[in-house]
Symmetry: C2
Subunit: 222 residues, 2 copies
Amino acid sequence: MAYTYKYPHPAVSVDIAIFTIRDEALKVLLIRRGQPPYRGEWALPGGFVGLEESLKHAAWRELKEETGVNAVYLEQLFTFGHPQRDPRERVISVAYFALIPSDKLEIKAASDADSVDWFGIEEVPKLAFDHKKILRKALERVAAKLDYSTIAFQLMPETFTMPQLQHVYEVITRVPTDKRNFRKRMLALNVIEQTGEEKRTGAHRPAKLYRVVDRNKVDYIK
Amino acid sequence: MAYTYKYPHPAVSVDIAIFTIRDEALKVLLIRRGQPPYRGEWALPGGFVGLEESLKHAAWRELKEETGVNAVYLEQLFTFGHPQRDPRERVISVAYFALIPSDKLEIKAASDADSVDWFGIEEVPKLAFDHKKILRKALERVAAKLDYSTIAFQLMPETFTMPQLQHVYEVITRVPTDKRNFRKRMLALNVIEQTGEEKRTGAHRPAKLYRVVDRNKVDYIK
DNA sequence: GCAAAAGTGTTATCCCTACACCCATGA
DNA sequence: TCATGGGTGTAGGGATAACACTTTTGC
């Protein structure tokens, strides 16, 4: 079966930079390509857009295929369309990024084994296509949004401590912050509350646990 | 001649919201469609992406076709891809917005006469496709960027006065501002300088003229 | 009791806001 | 001379940034 058009049509794909926090670091999900082009190289998960599905739907579908999760933060990033970005044919890629809380991860369940893995953003290998460029832009966007929105909480587990939260800010923005000021700033957002519980992790004072009052909601500041 | 693919491919277009300031108001350029669908209705200028050109190139091409200008501010806005947004076939639209200084306009030279016109953003008629949605998003983006960047100067002519500049801010953000504070804020940006000239426009004190030190450059604030 | 990380308040500084009068011009 | 819009400075308040010591725990 073939599809014929009067004018040339490009192919359209979605690619997703999926982020999470693990082992105190910001990680991105990559898959090892099983098919040419770039067979054997790492790439962002992605795929072609179905003719009857919306772009966002395609992004959700890919996200679920690779991670099993569904209710996470997903945002359109940018559309990349350089004529030679794919050696096969003209492929225009609508890029998205997703933020997954560290406790929702089941990965590798849905997808096939050792061709999927999380990489610290410092240790990302060479990537197929222009995926390095996509990843860079996604990181910029996420870092910028920490400053004027509450998306950071989309990366936090159900309950978390202040030092944990601060750590997330610091690994993403690379700006070290005074912990007293950071605490004040977070509480002033009015989107988290104490659970009453504490978390003890070693030979030191336990940390108070917090939760987000309304997950699913992202506030914009100022 | 026909183009055949193994899998179905959507068509990809670019649509552009082109803004300028005229008669003290923010205007957007619309074209009246000469072909179905939506024949006779107004729409954002746009067209299909050539197989060998980048998305930005396609946007520039359309922009130049309609306005004759080339050196203006052009930014990718968002990609719209609902399956039914075009009644003919699946069309994915990569939307851009452009800002043109009021003194660079020649319009209607390049394009065909009375099927192109500028509309104040308050008087935009019903638009074809989902172009109202695109326009709304473009306006939001521009208004938001006034707060944290210097894109406003991309709308200003070679030389301009403070009241003119303030007017641009006010028509876009709809936030009236104290003129003393506004002036201080603008000067603190360090991107404009006095020309030494004045502009006299009526029975009142003449206004000092300013120019942008480095056009082409857009600063991000804070 | 000691090391390690968590928790906590106050002060100084900067930035933003509010606010009112004089000036230069054309008619 | 009068109406019109352009130009100018200061003081107060709120937000942000700087800064050091005490607490709780595990070993």
